[in-house]
């Protein structure tokens, strides 16, 4: 009985992703070391900027494992931010508002999940409608940009500005001041989400059944799994994670506006794909998606540090990566089919 090499295509993809991140980051350090790229804070800033995206990418990984997709997450985040901003402006506390946002996420995800799981409608179409709905609702709540200031809600303001210092990796700046590296609360939340989703995918029945549904939905049903319910719950989880991401996003931007988080869903999807999640379902890992986010963040950071490159380069580079990874995936799939 032959056993094929344990280094299968998916593991290779993940290693390519991690390797790519290291190469990119090292390249940035070499090229822009003089501009402070080597400082720990540069890396932490990537985490801070992308905390919300990490949560969203985890959510998308979950639905993509079931061979689904969710393009409503960017709009949902815009709606979350607007709800938070307007809610707190009208005097509701930060904690009740955050809970409300999560509840809306659950309800919204449940509706989308029902349409996808039980009515069998294509995830893309359902979540496209979801995207329209959330963008529109954001404007229905308020058409103006609403900023969250200290006066509006002090708790939220303090939460947003809280620095969590890191005891190592600091540097002395030009004025001779020692700069202590720090992260924000959002990074802690994002990393917690990452670890929890990772553990859930690996060690719970629900987590494993996501893989089973994505691997072969018919088999999963034959083996006694409730495929419809699993699909629905995956989409609910995605919306909830997007809502958590929305809160993180709001803590970063401290505002609600109709055009917030435009195209964020595509960043999250490309992160997941670059991280080795198959769009056809069944294969993927949130750590891969995490590295996907880091790669996107590093590209933006390099372009920003360079200062001369056109602002559209990050988008183009990400798309090129996306293209390369999608083609590699399709080649792997073709090879696997030929072996059968």
């Amino acid at each position: 009985m032959k056993k094929r090499s344990s280094l299968n295509g998916h593991t290779i993809l993940l290693f390519i992703t991690i390797g790519l991140f290291i190469v990119l980051y090292a390249g940035g350090c070499i090229a822009y070391g003089s501009k402070g790229f080597t400082h720990l804070q540069t890396f932490l800033n990537i985490l801070i900027t992308n905390a919300g995206l990490i949560c969203v990418a985890c959510g998308l990984t979950v639905v993509m494992l079931t061979a689904g997709i969710d393009i409503s997450v960017g709009a949902l985040i815009a709606m979350d931010c607007m709800m938070l901003a307007v809610g707190m402006r009208s005097g509701i506390g930060a904690v009740p508002m955050m809970l409300l946002v999560l509840l809306v996420g659950i309800a919204f995800g449940a509706f989308q999940g029902f349409m996808i799981g039980y009515l069998g409608i294509q995830p893309f179409i359902v979540t496209m409608a979801g995207m329209f709905f959330c963008r529109g609702m954001t404007a229905v709540i308020c058409t103006d940009q609403v900023s969250i200031t200290k006066e509006i809600n002090e708790t939220f303001y303090n939460l947003a500005n809280m620095k969590i210092n890191i005891p190592f990796g600091g540097y002395t700046n030009k004025k001779g001041m020692y700069m202590v590296p720090y992260i924000r609360v959002t990074v802690v939340v994002a990393l917690l989400v990452l670890v929890i989703v990772y553990l859930m995918l690996r060690y719970t029945k629900f987590g494993r059944s996501l893989y089973a549904v994505g691997g072969n939905a018919q088999s999963a049903a034959m083996m006694g799994l409730n495929v419809k319910s699993i699909r629905m719950r995956a989409h609910m989880l995605c919306s909830v994670l997007a809502s958590i991401g929305g809160i993180c996003y709001c803590l970063n931007t401290m505002a609600g506006s109709v055009s917030q988080a435009l195209g964020l869903e595509m960043d999250a999807i490309s992160s997941a794909v670059i991280g080795g999640t198959l769009l056809t379902g069944g294969v993927g890992n949130v750590f891969g998606s995490f590295f996907g986010v880091l790669i996107n963040g590093t590209i933006s950071s390099i372009v920003k540090t360079n200062g001369k490159l056109a602002s559209s380069w990050p988008n183009i580079l990400t798309a090129i990566l996306l293209f390369v990874f999608i083609v590699i995936q399709s080649i792997f799939a073709a090879v696997r089919n030929r072996r059968k």
């Binding site: 032959k2 344990s6 029945k205 494993r208 089973a212 691997g215 088999s219 083996m223 069944g282 294969v283």
Partner: protein, 506 residues
Amino acid sequence: MEENVVLTARGITMTFPGVKALEDVDFTLRRGEIHALMGENGAGKSTLIKCLTGINDFEAGEIHIAGIDGPVKNHSTRDAQNVGISTVYQEVNLCPNLSVAENLFIGREPMTAFHTIDRKSYNKRSQKIMDDLGISVDVTQNLENYSLAIQQMVAIARAVDMDCKVLILDEPTSSLDDEEVEKLFVLMRRLRDQGVGIIFVTHFLEQVYAVCDRITVLRDGHFVGEYPIAELPRVKLVAAMMGKNLDDLEEIGKEHENTAEDKLEISAKGLSHTGTVKPFDLDIHKGEVVGVAGLLGSGRSELARAIYGADKANTGSLEVDGKSVKINQPIDAMNLGMGMLPDDRKAEGIIQDLSVRENMILALQAKQGMFKPLSRAKQEELVDEYIKVLQVKTASKETLVKQLSGGNQQKVILGRWLITQPDFLILDEPTRGIDVGTKAEIQKLILKLAGEGKSILFISSEISEMLRTCSRMAIMRDGEKVNELDHDLTQESVMKAIAGGEQNND
């Protein structure tokens, strides 16, 4: 209930709209036996299996299972599993992206105190299960890393570990090679010795005689008989499946003259398609009707597909009209004057949502090319002509083809090919599922076409209709062309050739 019996089905009857799929069928399975369920297309094998596993809802009859009082009625595969009936299909119903151990335990994983999956424990248990069954795999590896045979064995292991008393193997060997089949048989015998009752559905006669203890034959939804393997030689089995009693076989006289000319239309040398049909030679003359006989899955359709380029031939050479040709895809064959009516009308024949007219002119249009559309008037003229020739019953030319009856759909596809004026036509089961009158019409049409100098390759599971039309027959068995009969074509000689084995050394 007999002492050793684990499952009995009595008087199972089931109708699909318009068709009686099973009528008063009995089936008995004993402990520790491998029981073959045999029958040709439409005999009701899979319907019966689906009744046992709860996928089909039968109307009459009872199923009893040892240890359970009263009749059992399953409503889902889950119900069936709960009463001890597990099924393993040809298409492995497992998840290739999960590990072997996970595939064994998904949906019933052992849990730890923290309500998480106990990976260690199920990996250990899985390894033991596989070792006990003599299957050497690393259970932590993904299933897709193993061959199909191993995947099938994992599926069987899962079924067995779920305490199944009845294991149904539905054509498990169709995509395995000989060595893998042998390994599967070792496992089947081991399970039989452990007392599991196994229902084995296959269309490979060799395999039935290699591993089974008993055979039940179905035909046209009816129970034909149950026989211990020793009492049913191959020829009798084939006769039982095909519906002729050997003792009173009538000699069916040829109703036609041999219209074959000397000139060769098709000459295939060493053509093959990996995994479906082994290299074969075949010559077909102008004006000749050549039949291909064999059981379902014997490679009879695949032989035709390899010639036509529906499955591109991997080896061998082909001459059409004396010229050496290369066929990569169907359009190449069509440009050489070929046409093929495939056996699966729904999957490869009709374009369901197009009209009768569009369906009929499709092939000619494809031959002409996109930018040389047939004028509407020309289309209507052709379609009217062939609707008349073939006597297609349709409300109008613009009726969607899916609204027609099966026989008329078949005529539409036949018309599609006749419109292209082919020199060589492959007809794969053209009469399946259509009424007797239409069958006779199609047989007459075949003879008429041959009379016009066209060559025809005719594939059918009804030997009698091939005897009526063919002047020569190629015999297929287990993916190989084993024989060619050109004189003394009788029901008996053909059946003997199909059955092979002790009657016919090859």
